[in-house]
């Protein structure tokens, strides 16, 4: 599923760039993320707790900064996670674009989230909504952190 989010951050682009490309720091803006630790150049391990009503998913996986182009203000992040109890997987690719807006920066996030296995059988609209919520909160949190 493809999702799009935009947030206006009250900070110059360089500062926003620094935060979004600092994966452990940026990950703190995703609600439910537990310790993110480096596992190689541009690669991290982490876990995410997602609550869908009574259902709690613990997604363990890898996050990698797959592309960065500071001049163009573009970065791509890929996350692959698995709930090993359920055997479900979640894969997300996020393309972030920073656009100068005078003093401020517009943050655009285009993400593609794919959910497979038992988690995926839970109901795609519900999952889509959850993913959408997470991304919204992420964008808002980034904006707040830098404001």
């Amino acid at each position: 599923m493809k999702l799009e989010h935009t947030a206006l951050v009250r900070a110059p682009r360089t500062r926003v760039w620094k935060l979004v490309t600092d994966v452990p720091a940026a990950a703190r803006c995703v609600p439910g993320v537990a310790a993110v630790t480096p596992s190689g150049t541009g690669k991290y391990k982490g876990s995410l707790l997602v609550q869908l009503g009574p259902v709690r998913l613990v997604l363990d996986g890898d996050v990698a900064l797959t592309a960065t182009d500071e001049a163009a203000g573009k970065a791509s992040v890929r996350a692959d996670a698995k709930d090993s109890r359920l055997g479900g997987t979640v894969r997300a690719t996020m393309d972030l674009t920073l656009v100068d807006k005078g003093e401020d920066t517009e943050l655009r996030i285009t993400s593609d989230v794919q959910i497979a296995g038992r988690i995926g059988e839970f109901g795609q609209p519900v999952i889509q909504r959850k993913a959408d919520q997470l991304m919204t909160q992420f964008a808002e949190c980034l904006a707040r952190t830098l404001a």
Partner: protein, 283 residues
């Protein structure tokens, strides 16, 4: 992997178990939704607290024009209760329209509400009736309007230490009419594409004295159509006013795409069925 199953006989015992096991506990009444989620492996509590043996949670009582329905009363029992039919025939029809007779024989009112599925039938009707739920904790009871119970998909405003123990339906002012319409374009046994519950009372002069409208399957929670209500309250409910009011439902809802229809179609259908519900109530 399994769980310990507890069947307390009083609300106090159930609350004590809930306090003891905290997040590792899950409450069930009819256990329909729980069994599905357990079987899918999506829920793995260590303790399951079954409420069905608690006598205080059963039964339907008529109160001065109103109704109190215990949380563990099944859909089927509500559908068949004479008191419910006397209180509001549309409420009977609402419960009778839930899934199939097998599910209605097992699923309970409390379970239905606590599960917070936005496509379920009873919540919009209960909202339109102005019902409230009783939430009981060690600290005592509090009431939550059904309207305020639902927070998100499968999420309620009940606290972790609370048990939904009953639903109170208030006395309806004389002359109040009610309806529940469920749009099922695919098969007779399906979740609604949209559903509309409404109550309406006309003043002696023919103007709308009171109106409440709520919709199911139109967003992450059942929603109250306050814009529609506002447009109609005090108005003379002719066809044009009803159509205009129904068109305002668009502002109250946030449907999403699913196999039962696109968000665009659901918006259109929310309007059509709101108009139909209101038309039925004034005719």
């Amino acid at each position: 992997m399994t769980y310990d199953y507890h069947e307390p006989e009083t609300v106090a015992e159930a609350l004590a178990l809930l306090a003891l096991h905290g997040e590792d506990a899950h409450l069930v009444a009819g256990a329909t939704a729980f069994t599905l989620l357990w079987r899918q492996g999506l829920l793995r509590p260590g303790h399951v607290i079954g409420l069905r043996r608690i006598a205080a949670l059963g039964g339907i009582t008529s109160t001065e024009g109103g109704l109190v329905i215990g949380a563990t009363v099944t859909h089927r029992a509500i559908e068949r209760a004479v008191e419910v039919g006397r209180y509001c025939p549309a409420l009977t029809r609402t419960f009778a329209s839930v899934a199939t007779v097998r599910v209605r024989n097992q699923a309970t009112l409390g379970g239905n509400l606590a599960h917070a599925d936005p496509a379920q039938d009873p919540p919009p009707m209960l909202i339109a009736l102005g019902a409230e739920v009783v939430a009981t904790s060690a600290a005592g009871e509090r009431t939550i309007p059904v309207d305020e119970l639902f927070v998100d998909v499968f999420t309620t405003s009940l606290r972790a230490d609370e048990i939904l123990t009953a639903v109170r339906c208030p006395a309806l002012a004389p002359g109040t009419r009610a309806t529940y319409l469920k749009f099922l374009p695919r098969t007779a046994d399906d979740y609604a594409t949209v559903s509309v519950a409404a109550t309406l009372r006309l003043a002696d002069d023919g103007h709308v004295a009171d109106v409440r409208v709520a919709l199911g399957a139109c967003g992450p929670t059942p929603v109250r159509a306050r814009s529609v209500e506002a447009a109609l309250r005090g108005a003379r409910p002719d066809a044009r006013h009803i159509a205009d009011a129904a068109a305002r439902v668009d502002a109250d809802i946030a449907p999403f795409d699913d196999v039962r229809g696109s968000a665009t179609y659901k918006r259109d259908m929310a309007r059509v069925w709101t108009e139909r519900a209101l038309t039925e109530l004034v005719s």
